[in-house]
Amino acid sequence: MKDIAAYAVEAMVKAGADKASCTVSSGRKDELNVETNNFSLLRTLFEDKLSLKAIKGGRKGTITVNKLDKESVNKAVEECITLTASATPDEAEDIAPMVENKNFNRLIGGSDMAQLFARSKELLETVADQYPQINLDLNSIFNNRKSVYANSNGAEFCDETEYYSLSTNFTAKEGEASSSFNYYYTMMDSLAMPFLDMGMQRSLIEDSVKSLKTRTIDDKFVGKIIVAPSCDDMVWYTILSCFLSNYALISDTSRWKDALGTVVADKKLTMCAAPLAPEIIAAERFSGDGFVSQDADFIRDGVLTSFALDLYGANKTGKPRTANTSFYNIEVAAGDTPLADMVKGIDKGILLNRFSGASPGPSGDISGVAKNSFLIENGQITDAISETMVSFNIVDILKNIPAISKERSANGVTLLPWCCFDGITVSGK
């Protein structure tokens, strides 16, 4: 594969590119599928990918194909160079310098399909025994992938990775009553642990059973919500997409565009992209634009310390490049309050396990439905709720964080605590 990457880079340069980069990957995926508590499918994917980037006179073209034979590589090179001719010149387009070439190896000994099947079956049987109301779909997967990056500055990286992943989707059903569906995703580097014991898997299934009977909120109030780690898209990924991303900064729509070095959140909040954290599985070791990845703070003690910018975004905006592009591997620092005490401190609020909401716009206004969630009354978690909407502005609530839990939950992708926000509008029917 290194030969293919080197060949493609050289071919692009020969064809007139001033700068060129290539990522080649090849791998295999074996996926067990369960539909409604029954095994249904075993799926094997043999996957190849070739991604080329050429810059000619500041004009960029990118092409991705899933063939690695010489004829396909030659055709992709030719088409990539053709793409550059149609582009607008942009001085911000660049590739990484060669600093130190590296190889990474995170192989775990290949796939153990018998054990993957056994763990999946164990999950089905345990759930059927302990939570008979649950209907469970799952995909349990073994992934093997080798990736090579090379560019015309001489940078070259290779990464061989293997890991397992589990995706579950579940609903409690009893008579004619159904809970909201919920889902959970986990990545792991071994099959040592039963699937039910991973991260929030068991507690979310238990909460689904508890959600067979729900209550609606009759009134409207402004109060506190505790956002569980399973609800990662509501706050953390919204911050990334609306305020920190290439798009937000280049489109000039980020409300934090001039906030670097200033307070944007309560001082309890520290948030980073942490691909190297031991709890994070199979994350990037080199970025798509050719840099070795390091962990990177976005917010430290409430102060905005970095945007989420790749090389192009940094060059375009004049702001610093972020030390990785593994922005989904979010880590939020633990707080100093036990989760139980956070609940005790709330007179009326919600424990939010899942949020079904609108894609947020640049204003930061967000609203949606609280799913698989519970009312907190007088310091205690009481009833499961339905038909309850929460509305807030994310810029405002980040400055209004009464507590962050001591406990954190890891699912191989993120490492997050429970976080309490105040000033949320909660409304029922």
Binding site: T62, D90, G361
Partner: protein, 460 residues
């Protein structure tokens, strides 16, 4: 165009088998505040096989579309089917047969479209936006093409050759409120067809862009909606989202089996008698659907699925496997997005049928409520509790449109909310610009009229 390397392998089929060659080609140009952030082409193609044995499936895919590659995926899929059958031991009989035949191409792939055409068109639209609309703080113009071509050979059913071109222009406009908060609106234009046939002249988009700008100028003066249950008009663009999210997902048979409330509502009143809803295959109300499907990826000839008729829930959408479980005939809803995806139960062109009311009469009938016009995304639930975003909406005060509202969300329980529908407009809007997510992405069409109903709205 894909060459048929599949048919010669049909003689090697032992169990029920699908063999599919497919190429998805994407072209993408994105101008963010005039900066070309994307100038990209992606081609993803290959061959896959799915084999059924004793109640479970084995599937395999590979990028290499050669006779050797076909043999390899057939062998790997068969091995997987054997593995599953030996471990699971369901002992089920073969899937019931369906109509056999051959569906040739309905739309033929044309000459390749050069990337420069997308670039030049996007640049022209961007220039038009910059020149004409002076109060914008930012704008994004994107041009996208997604072409899907499939060849399907099955051991039992319809073999087919399918081609679906989809070409879109997306325009985002951003302006700031008086206190400096950015607000945004987007229009998607296009749908089924070749880019060079749908987009011949950027100036022809001016009318749509004028309306987008005008709406944005109102939105930047917008107010927060009052949270709670309100009498609302869901505009015709929202009607399609309602059909897809609130009802469509709930009546997919795999979701039904997994716990959807729809399971207990078959042949029961789930909506006002005014409401009828159909998942159309390829032709709706005498016209071609936005994204026609003639044969699904299990080789089933596609037919319309009547889901709700005069308020009564009549049917679910099925794969061949779930159709057998429910004792009905499949209607062609099993679809796969890429060559390496297995067929899942998916909607095709799902629509609430138009009624007899005039939109202006519907608005005039409300003293205090909202007219909700544009949506961005939505989500269904097994409980029937749906959500979708409201990107553009207006207050209705004393029968007249009032101030615009800021972004919000509406929600409700589908089979309760649909019973409150008491007026339906006589027009209809189709949309096919987005992707539905359910393990895989999928292109779908969704359509609807405007509806008057009671619905829960987020806000302050």
């Amino acid at each position: 165009m894909l060459q048929d390397l599949l048919t010669t392998h049909k003689s090697a089929f032992k169990d029920y088998t699908e063999l599919r060659a497919q190429v998805n080609t994407t072209r993408r140009v994105s101008l963010v505040a005039g900066n070309m952030m994307a100038n990209a082409q992606v081609s993803e193609g290959g061959v896959s096989a799915r084999v059924y044995r004793g109640g479970t499936f084995g599937f395999a895919s590979a990028a290499s579309y050669t006779h050797e590659g076909v043999k390899n995926v057939l062998s790997a899929a068969t091995d997987n089917a054997i593995f599953m059958d030996s471990h699971v031991k369901k002992g089920k009989p073969p899937l019931p047969g369906v109509k056999a035949g051959n569906q040739p191409l309905v739309t033929t792939p044309g000459a390749d479209i050069p990337q420069s055409l997308l670039v030049e068109f996007a640049q022209a639209v961007d220039a038009l936006v910059v020149e004409k609309y002076k109060n914008l703080s930012s704008r994004t113009v994107a041009a996208n093409i997604l072409d899907i071509e499939k060849l399907l050979v099955v051991s039992d059913g319809m073999d087919s050759h399918f081609y679906q071109p989809r070409s879109m222009i997306y325009v985002f406009m951003t302006a700031e409120t008086a206190d400096g908060v950015p607000v945004e609106l987007m229009r998607s234009l296009g749908g089924f067809g070749r880019f060079d046939e749908l987009f011949t002249n950027p100036a022809l988009l001016t009318c749509e862009l004028d309306m987008l700008y005008e709406s944005l100028m109102k939105k930047r003066e917008g107010v927060y909606a009052e949270a709670g249950l309100h009498k609302c008009i869901l505009g015709s663009e929202m009607g399609g989202m309602l059909a897809h999210e609130a009802v469509g997902h709930t009546v997919e048979a795999d979701i039904v089996l997994n716990g959807s409330v729809a399971a207990h509502n078959l042949n029961k009143q789930v909506a006002s008698e005014m409401v009828s809803m159909v998942d159309f295959a390829h032709t709706a109300l005498g016209k071609p659907c936005p994204l026609p499907v003639y044969v699904d990826d299990e080789g089933v000839q596609a037919e319309d699925a009547v889901l709700i008729e005069n308020g009564i829930l009549k049917a679910f959408m099925h794969s061949r496997d779930t159709a057998r479980q429910f004792g009905v005939a499949p209607q062609g809803n099993a679809r796969a997005f890429t060559y390496s995806d297995e067929p899942l139960i998916r909607m095709r062109n799902t629509a609430i049928l138009p009624g007899r009311d005039k939109l202006e009469d519907m608005i005039a009938s409300i003293d205090n409520g909202y007219y909700l016009v544009k949506t961005g995304n939505g989500q269904a639930d097994s409980t029937g509790e749906f959500m979708f975003s409201v990107d553009e909406g207006y207050e209705i005060k004393n029968g007249k449109l009032g101030k615009a509202i800021r972004e919000t969300t509406v929600s409700g329980v589908a089979f309760e909310m649909l019973k409150t529908v008491d007026m339906i407009s006589d027009d209809m809007h189709w949309d096919s610009s987005g992707f539905c997510g359910k393990k895989q992405a999928m292109t779908t069409g969704m359509g609807g009229p405007a509806l008057r109903c009671d619905i829960n709205i987020g806000g302050k």
